[in-house]
């Protein structure tokens, strides 16, 4: 009897342990191993960081050549003082890992198309395998390998990357199971060693986010439905309101480079109005079109202090942990302060003892497609320049958690990887093969530029730093204590003829290839202009008279507004710059309101519709959270675009690109007989007035529903938030009652907006302010996880500065001192 009980109890005990040591599937999601997860010694409790935690540490590592002291201030921002420069990057890697390891790894896995390894093929409604396939076929890993070659060919960059990687790995190897970040415990996996390739992969992810945008398939589809005239009206080149980064009329350097448009381009390529096709395919991934930013610098002639002020706020998806990590790096060569990318060395946006620098996205189209004609289904040969050329192959193996691996067998051609073929269909669902030519595939070393900017002492150093920079193209802003301000759109851009790259191109010969790179001299720099300021906000860099085609997507409004404001300001103070950077003024609304009023037939509105219209009329045009006007306007504009174009666009079930808002508003403003107003599905000919009024009535339905739920106020309607990378609501900050929007300088949409706000006044002591919506710690259990969010939401800033080591040692609010030494 006793033996029986013994066996039963043993079985129950063992059974309990096994169940609690296994991931259980509950409602389509997998739990962590519950026993492990709840164990106070090993599990999540260990990540419940004490609020008064002291971060003192003493780290010895053989890689270090000297001593490095790190002081963590009250916001957990590390101030790093290194005796040897490369030791600083070792420590930077260590700190990035210490505070943001999971984020770094996860981002590198995402960029490398390895999410399925952690998450499985499908989980929680996301198709990770589809995402991985996309990034592998786009050639992200290939691009990273190419970049890595360039980085490692440069002795300095290699040493820095090596030091950075060694620092990350020094931290990882110090970890025991209980020290793993929370997300590893939730998802049941372990960190793996960092490599220089992962740094390169991260840089390529940013290149994808910023220079990976294209609508080639949608545009190719569009030209099959619309005539040339219609197409040019729907997708015009440039805008009326455009105030380019380099002002109209500025002399552009001449170049002897003459492009040869292919002989049959007009009939083969610019061929509008062809045959239709079948059902659409969803592209699982596209970079956010609003990945952009604002930056500007005003010269001392316009400021109260007599010295330049530089401002920058990059717009990216807002996530936890934040894409940025704030820090100071001090070495015998330089002192710099700003934000860095966990995943790469150097300060990316910030300032040093002499100058400040910042970036906005160039938006130039550097990703094109070429149709490939394979000899047969083996894809071993393709037709190019009148012969069959051999392909090579990249086999990208995607490991899938709890499932067999998937292999993507990708043919490589002279253009690049054949991203779409008979095994991986494209959006036009024609089974054809298309190779992707992407600037990011070219071997380049961007790390050098950031490092050189950190050390730059003057305009000449800035020019030298940015001259080698290739991709993703950026508007690089500079201001120095000696009074210089400058901006240049820098990158290696293909010299294109008009509309080259807007559509899929024939890939049977070299005729449609990128013929040359635009000479560096034609990346025009604006230095100390008479108007007293330089700026960029993702508008076109030059006006449409620039000799090469500026394919890409360029919102004009923020740039127009910033330039207009700065032209009219004098004796500028930091506070006024803060007000401009956080301005909720809706520029589109200002321009669109008279146009909409002109066409709106108020007599046709019902009582509640008129009620809503009155809210629009009485609105002060600021997208403040409490206002209802912004919601009315936003829904109306969306509805107007739909009413205007949906009928023409429903002629195909394949994807099309919606015309941008400037096209719509400028179209109806200029042309009272705008042809798209007519609904082609009805016998009568609708007018603009019909469409504008109908659009409002349609909008009113949505607005009324929102109103009934008391969510008409913009802050509630927009329902902004900041989401954890795993999209777990408990680790996110949701339902933030925030103002701003796509057409304001404060470009906060729902989950996308100013990821860092920085203002630097270049007086002798440098007066600087910065804030980002997040926290220095990536640990959701830490009080430093999201402690900056409320400050950022309120439009406030922290004072930031390069602090001397003697001064910081005396601070009483330090959260810890970390000593690194050789050992």
């Amino acid at each position: 009897m006793r033996w029986l009980l013994l066996i039963v109890c043993a079985a129950i005990t063992t059974g309990l342990i096994i169940v609690l040591d296994t991931r259980l599937t509950v409602a389509g999601a997998k739990t962590p191993r519950l026993g492990y997860f709840l164990s106070p010694q090993k599990g999540f409790w260990h990540n419940a960081e004490a609020d008064d935690k002291n971060f003192d540490a003493d780290i010895k590592n053989a890689y270090l050549k000297g001593k490095v002291n790190v002081y963590l201030d009250e916001r957990l921002v590390p101030h790093v003082y290194a005796e040897q420069e490369n030791d600083a990057y070792f420590v930077q890697g260590y700190l990035h890992a210490k505070f943001r390891l999971w984020q770094m790894e996860f981002q590198a896995y995402a960029a490398g198309g390895r999410l399925s390894e952690i998450m499985g093929a499908k989980s929680n409604g996301s198709d990770f395998l589809a995402i991985d396939k996309f990034f592998r076929r786009l050639g992200m890993v290939y691009a990273a390998e190419q970049s890595l070659r360039a980085i490692e060919a440069d002795e300095t960059s290699k040493a820095q990357a090596d030091a950075y990687t060694a620092g990350v790995n020094a931290y990882i190897s110090s970890l025991s199971e209980e020290d793993y970040p929370l997300e590893y415990k939730l998802l049941d996996y372990k960190p793996e060693p960092w490599t220089n390739l992962k740094t390169a992969l991260f840089m390529k992810y940013m290149a994808y986010d910023l220079a990976g945008g294209e609508d080639d398939f949608e545009m190719t589809n569009a030209k099959s439905i619309f005539t040339k005239e219609q197409f040019e009206k729907l997708y015009p080149y440039g805008q009326d309101i455009l105030d380019p980064i380099i002002p109209k009329g500025t002399a552009i350097a001449k170049s002897g480079l003459v492009l040869k448009k292919p002989s049959k381009a007009d009939s083969l390529y610019l061929n509008f109005f062809k045959k239709k096709d079948t059902a659409a395919i969803k592209n699982p991934v596209k970079p956010d079109k609003d990945n952009g930013s604002n930056n500007w610098a005003v010269s001392g002639s316009k400021t109260k202090s007599g010295r330049p002020i530089l401002c920058n706020d990059p717009h990216l998806g807002l996530n936890f942990p934040s894409i940025w990590y704030e820090m100071q790096i001090s070495t015998p060569e330089y002192n710099a302060y700003g934000v860095s990318f966990p995943g790469a060395p150097s300060i990316i946006i910030g300032f040093n003892d002499s100058c400040a620098f910042g970036f906005t996205n160039a938006e130039r189209d550097v990703r094109d497609y070429y149709e490939i004609k394979f000899k047969d289904s083996t894809m071993k040969e393709y037709w190019f320049d009148s012969t069959w050329q051999p392909t090579t192959f990249r086999d990208e193996i995607i490991k899938i958690k709890d499932a067999p691996s998937d292999t993507e067998h990708i043919a490589m051609t002279v253009f690049g990887p054949v991203m779409y073929d008979q095994h991986y269909d494209n959006k036009l669902k024609n089974g054809k093969a298309y190779a992707c030519r992407w600037k990011a595939h070219d071997s380049s070393n961007e790390l050098r530029t950031f490092n050189q900017l950190d050390k730059a002492k003057n305009y000449h150093d800035y020019e030298n730093a940015i001259s080698t920079y290739q991709c993703p193209g950026q508007n690089m802003l500079f201001a120095a204590k000696n009074g210089d301000i400058a901006i240049r759109q820098q990158g290696q851009f293909p010299a294109k003829w008009k509309r080259q790259g807007d559509f899929i191109m024939p890939g049977e010969d070299s005729a449609y290839m990128w013929q040359a790179t635009i000479p560096d001299s034609m990346n025009t720099t604006m230095l100390n202009p008479a108007r007293g300021f330089v700026s960029s906000a993702n508008q076109m860099p030059y006006d449409t008279s620039y000799p090469y085609y500026l394919g890409g997507s360029y919102p004009p409004y923020r740039g127009f507004f910033i330039n207009w404001r700065l032209s009219n300001m004098q004796n500028i103070t930091i506070e006024e710059m803060q007000q401009l950077q956080t301005s909720n003024y809706n520029i589109l609304a200002k321009l669109a309101k008279p146009v909409l009023e002109k066409y709106m037939d108020v007599k046709r509105l019902s009582t509640y519709e008129k009620n809503l219209y009155d809210k629009f009329e009485s609105w002060d045009l600021k997208n403040d959270a409490a206002e209802e006007g912004p919601s009315v306007f936003a829904v109306w504009i969306d509805s107007l675009s739909d009413a205007m174009y949906a009928d023409e666009f429903s002629q195909t079930s394949l994807p099309l690109m919606e015309p941008v808002t400037s096209t719509l508003i400028e179209g109806i403003a200029k042309d009272s007989l705008y042809e798209f107003a007519d609904n082609i599905n009805t016998p009568q000919k609708e007018t603009i007035s019909d469409v504008v009024t109908l659009a409002f009535k349609n909008a009113a339905k949505t607005l009324n529903s929102a109103n009934l739920l008391q969510k008409l106020a913009w802050g509630k309607f927009k329902d902004s938030g900041i989401r954890h990378l795993l999209r777990l609501p408990q680790l996110s900050r949701l339902h933030l009652n925030a103002g701003g929007g796509t057409f304001s300088v404060n470009a906060y949409k729902q989950f996308h907006g100013p990821s860092w706000r920085m203002i630097v006044q270049l007086t002798d002591e440098t007066e600087a302010y910065g804030v980002y919506p997040g926290g220095q710690s990536g640990n959701p259990g830490s009080k430093y996880y999201d402690n900056f969010v409320d400050t950022w939401l309120a439009g406030k800033y922290y004072k930031i500065a390069i602090v001397g080591e003697a001064a910081i040692k005396k601070q009483t609010s330090l959260k810890g001192t970390m000593s690194f030494s050789k050992g």
């Binding site: 006793r2 026993g35 164990s39 010694q41 599990g43 409790w45 008064d52 408990q730 009080k783």
Partner: protein
């Protein structure tokens, strides 16, 4: 007396073992303690349970308090337990206690119980 010493020993070893081994290694130590400090089945279970219930409970409580319930509320919600840290604490303690209690119970059956003369 046996009861108290069983609890103390179970808790001490239950704390030490997972420092070096897996999270569930305390099950083995609870099992062994129950053999060495032999009690009636019911008492063995209770001692084993109580030791780890309180050890895990107190450890978690210390973390939780210093953290001002920040993480436990989030985790409770992720695990679909509402957002009560207290419930999460209880469950943590209970799991530790249950495994340990069952292991101790198993241990108590490896020997024939003889009342001390």
């Amino acid at each position: 007396m046996k009861f108290i010493s069983a609890i103390i020993l179970t808790a001490l070893l239950g704390y030490a073992a997972p420092l070096f081994f897996t999270w569930w290694s305390f099950a083995i130590t609870s099992f062994i303690v129950a053999i060495v400090v032999h009690q009636k089945a019911g008492q063995a279970f209770t001692a084993g349970f109580a030791a780890m219930f309180f050890l895990w409970g107190i450890q978690a409580l210390i973390y939780d308090t210093a953290n001002h319930h920040r993480l436990s509320e989030k985790i409770a919600s992720i695990l679909k337990l509402g957002d009560s840290s207290f419930v999460l604490l209880l469950i943590t303690a209970f799991i530790g206690g249950l495994i340990s209690g069952m292991a101790a119970l198993t241990g108590s059956f490896t020997r024939k119980y003889k009342a001390l003369a």
